[in-house]
Amino acid sequence: MLLKALFVLLLGLSVQFVFKTLLMMDINKRVYNHRPGECRKVEGPSQGSEDFEVIDEKRIAFISSGVVYLPNSQSDVTWKGEIYLYDLTKRTYKAELIPILNLEDEEGFYPHGLSHWVMNDGTIRLFVVVHSKTFKHSVVILDYDDRKQHLNHVKTIRDDTFIRPNDIVATGENSFLLSNDGGAQTELGNMWEVISGFYRGGIVYFDGNKSHYLMENHVANGISLSRDGNTLFVSHINQETIGVYSWNQEKISLKKISEIETLTGCDNFYIDKDNHMWTGCHPVTKDVLAHFGNRSDPYLYGPSQVLRITFSKGFEKAEMVEVLADDGRLVSASTIAFPFDDGKQVLIGTVGRHPVHCDVAVPLSLY
């Protein structure tokens, strides 16, 4: 009797689990194409543009290209890891490859998340999450030489707490917040982590000397600070939500304020000067998996969705405007976007392909 009841319970749980997994894969969803204006691909970063770092003062954007993620073996990584620069004042539709000098490991530089800090003397210091071909992780600090247009290696930091780093936010000349998007180091392990829901990622704070765990057993993908530095936005991408936290740097404490359900997998964030959050999302999980699993195949692509999110004062609610949606033929697997030229243009980044530069000819403040 008890055995039968247990069996029925287990069956019920499995059915509910299968259903939830199918929903998470977005089985009943598709994307309908639309653009905010004329769009063109940006030449240069053909292997990806997973994250951007915008330097408002200089009106340039750094682009991290060629991300490596859970490779099955070294030989899978057939591309180079590079950093590009895009001039936002000219319509070149071409990004410049920036040489990086004096790296500790030239062959093992595959950049992921980016952030920057402006030094006292005005130098732009880049913070880069880096993976090697064998998926070993580090944070690399580079100073940008404006005149010679190259990046100089300052320091490479490795730490046990950089379990599987994804994004980074600079909080000082030598300190930063770092997000771990999970714990597994193999594709299979990651699949188990995602399906079971037992996430082993989280957020870490490196104060210049040592690391502190701020959040554990979570999935944390893109992270960004509000312009006043008091609020941290975290992408809980697998749960299709954005977590909003108050950040106290002195006390090194993170406290949850709210969680916004987006019903789509938003990757990285950019907070504009009007406090709107811009993000690139993956709206249909099942359609992007093939592309993620086989990045070298140029015939595969994944759908994209660019959202501009406006939070209410207390962050309990958010208005969402869809700036662009694409089945992947123009923009494949978008991760990030930001507006420039007073909101009249937008640049969109993707996991494994070219960035796309669009004009914005439609109103975005609708309510």
């Binding site: 598709r30 309908y32 639309h34 439609v362 609708l366």
Partner: protein, 364 residues
């Protein structure tokens, strides 16, 4: 033996509930975006379920005051109305036009179509329900000078089982789409839930009516500009059927079926032969609002899609022109473009009309 049947039945039930939840669009939502500045049109408040555009006269005719099914919530004190909107000027105000000499005093219009007579008169074909949900097709001629609609003829037919849309094929002939068979709320829900639809597609040739499709739920219907292709919305299947229409033989032949994964309502064909439709992207939200439309706090998302068909009509490029959670445009049922694709009107099942500019290119 009994155990096996029980297990099989349980498995069927589980699979069915899963399908129902997916069809209701759980775990789906809409995100807002517009192709340009949009404004509401004054004058129309009780719905604008269908719109037909006469490009020749630069006018849009709008039906207002829909009644659906014979239920308490449908009982309305108001009569339905017809509106005309001048597309050549940006008045953002629709004009109510009187309908003269109707046979029945109760006039609650639904789908609409038009045909231009040899002398240039615009002849309107309107699906009309009475307050207790009896049906007819009413033919009205538009008197441009006096701005009035004159009753020509009211046609009743056994085959107009539960008409939704009408489509003119000549001065006196037309298609009628029946969106189901049942006249009660419960009956309708059963029809949808079981998939045993009792709707149909009918053609009236001026004297007699013929069934062209049966046991299916058809909603919006429209012809291509050359009148040779018929588009039919199979709203519950979330597909659009494309048919060859042979007016001489009064026959249709299926060419293709486009899967949209959204419930498209009424249609419009623009100057370039693109198909436009307003669709209900999240069915659970649509059901709530449409089932209780007097409640002003409820609304339902709107999605406007433009379809550009390939030469062989087997494939269509779909562009989402407009999307709204429902707070601005609720339960859009029809979208009509004009001014060569630079402007658009969106009609809604139970609310007002939205007039948008389209400041972006939709061809890419």
């Amino acid at each position: 033996m009994l155990k096996i049947i029980l297990v099989a039945f349980l498995a069927f039930l589980v699979q069915y509930s899963f399908k129902v939840l997916l069809t209701l669009d759980v775990h789906k939502r809409t995100y807002n975006h517009r192709p340009g500045p949009c404004r509401k049109i004054e004058g129309v408040v009780n719905g604008s379920e269908d719109i037909t555009i006469s490009y020749e006269k630069n006018l849009a005719f709008i039906t207002s005051g829909l009644v659906f099914l014979h239920s308490e919530s449908s009982k309305t004190e108001n009569n339905g109305e017809m509106f005309v909107y001048d597309l050549s000027q940006r008045t953002y105000k629709a004009e109510r036009i009187p309908v003269k000499n109707l046979e029945d005093s109760e006039f609650l219009p639904h789908g609409i179509s038009h045909w231009v007579l040899k002398d240039g008169t615009v002849r309107l074909f309107v699906v009309v329900h009475s307050k207790d949900f009896k049906h007819s097709i009413v033919i009205l001629d538009y008197d441009e000078k006096n701005r009035v609609l004159n009753h020509v003829r009211t046609i009743r037919d056994d085959k107009f089982v539960r008409p939704n849309d009408v489509l003119a094929t000549g001065e006196n002939s037309f298609f009628v789409s029946n969106d189901g068979g049942c006249h009660s709320n419960i009956g309708n829900i059963l029809e949808i839930a079981t998939g045993f639809h009792k709707g149909s597609l009918v053609h009236y040739d001026g004297k007699n009516s013929h069934y062209l499709l049966e046991n299916t739920a058809t909603n919006g219907i429209i012809l291509s500009n050359d009148k040779k292709t018929l588009y039919v919305s199979f709203i519950y299947e979330e597909t659009i059927g494309v048919f060859d229409w042979n007016v001489g033989k009064q026959e249709i032949r299926e060419v293709s079926k486009i899967e949209t994964l959204t419930a498209c309502d009424n249609f419009h064909v623009d100057e370039d032969d693109n198909l436009w439709s307003a669709c209900h992207p999240v069915l659970k939200d649509a059901a709530k609002h449409l089932g209780n439309h007097k409640n002003k706090d409820l609304h339902s998302p709107t999605q406007v899609l433009r379809f550009k068909f390939s030469e062989d009509r087997k494939f269509a490029e779909i562009v989402e022109v407009f999307s709204d959670e429902g707070r601005f445009t609720s339960a859009g049922a029809v979208a009509t473009s004009f001014d060569n694709g630079k402007q658009m009107l969106i009609g809604t099942v139970f609310r007002d009309v939205t007039h948008c500019d389209i400041n972006i290119s939709l061809d890419f």
